[in-house]
Amino acid sequence: MILVNIFSSRRTFIFTSFKENMIGIRRFIQPLLGFHTSAVQCAEPMKKKKKMDPSIIRHREQRKMKRIERSIRKLERVERPLKPLDETQIPLSLKYEIPIRQRQLQPISQDIELSQRELLVAWSHHKQKEAERDLACIRKLLDAQGKALKELKLESEELYIEATQLDLSLLPYKAVGPTRTPQIKGYDPPDGDYIDVSRKWE
């Protein structure tokens, strides 16, 4: 069915129903009787919806539910990975337990607070001196290395180039720091040894 498209200087309007069409046509195209056309609308009126059998609809819904439930059960069977620490939240129950969990302590006396402040000042001095010593140590190491390389260069250019080559076997570098007590010789851990069986893709 072709609809009437009437353009005026001010507005454009599209009529969508046959009845409205006839009114439009009567208003503007009176002389032509019987034969009505409209301009091409690049659209089609809605198709009539066929009524589905309710049992078939139910069947389909049931199948969808079953599929989803099966996938849920599969995921549940696999061990759930732990949540990353960045995403952990404080359990809400703790919010209401705060009054129970707060400590009732005597406030710190003036003397103790003063001594604490003095201790912190002394500590900051100590740490500053320690940092200065560490930096001086690093500077000495670098200076010694620089001197060694300079002298090596004076002696022989080839050896100098060999010495300045990168040693890629050092990367990735791993170092284990000192512990409080040394390793117990021949210790048999009660929980057993940890053997890493993770796959390695080289």
Binding site: I98, I100, R101, Q102, R103, L105, I108, Q116, L119, L120, A122, W123, H126, L141, A144, Q145, K147, A148, L149, E151, L152, E155, S156, L159, E162, A163, T164, Q165, L166, D167, L170, V176, P178, T179, R180, T181, P182, Q183, I184, K185
Partner: protein, 216 residues
């Protein structure tokens, strides 16, 4: 015609022996003891942390147990209290944990090698850095120095250092060179009577390489 001073180079280049030496270091195995100020600050920090913290589940349980004990003593305990009292209390758990810790056989910080003053063992002075020092003959006298040896033809300084290390020990050392670059330099002249002889070098230039032993 005289050569200008700018253009002159060492026409007779001085001959120096190139020696390669190793600094084999055993790093500290255990952390050093705390200084007095560190101990004070640590105790202060722990007290502050205790003040600012909230009670843990274990502490809450201890309090509840204590209250329950009070109630049982007073005589106004209900059935639920009696049921709970028969279970393992939090205090029992704490006592058992403390006992387990006290019974754990930690290794001594001061080892047998320390007590015997065995200077050849790697197991001594676990909180300090140890450097390998060997007795080598320099000229006529034998001195305690970091192992060194002359670099041979076709070797890089690092290869020379590896050779020197291998020669110092009979077996293989589990060690790791931390890079191709040297870490130190030392230059010394030989005594006059050696220098003056033809074909001999003026002195030696020792280039030190740093090695850390690898521990399992």
């Amino acid at each position: 015609m005289r050569l200008s001073s700018f253009a002159s180079t060492q026409t007779a280049k001085e001959k120096w022996d190139l020696l390669s030496a190793v600094c084999l270091e055993r790093k500290p195995v255990i952390a050093r003891n705390l200084l007095p100020i560190e101990k004070e600050v640590l105790s202060m920090a722990q007290k502050m942390e205790y003040r600012l913290s909230l009670k843990s589940d274990h502490e809450i349980q201890l309090e509840k147990d204590r209250e329950r004990q009070e109630r049982i003593k007073q005589g106004d305990a209900d059935d639920s209290d009696m049921d709970q009292a028969s279970l393992n209390s939090a205090q029992d758990f704490e006592d058992a944990s403390v006992e387990e810790l006290s019974k754990f056989p930690f290794a001594d910080r001061i080892t047998e090698a320390d007590k015997e003053k065995d200077q050849k063992s790697l197991d001594r002075m676990l909180d300090r850095h140890l450097l390998l020092v060997v007795r080598q003959k320099l000229g006529t006298s034998s001195v305690w120095i970091l192992p060194q040896g002359q670099r041979q033809e076709g070797e890089t300084m690092r290869q020379a250092a590896e050779r020197v290390l291998a020669e110092s020990f009979d077996g293989k050392v589990q060690s790791r060179f931390l890079g191709n670059a040297p870490c130190g330099f030392y230059k010394y002249k030989y005594p006059k009577h050696i220098r003056e002889q033809d074909g001999n070098s003026i002195g030696a230039k020792v280039v030190y390489h740093y090695i850390a032993p690898v521990r399992k």
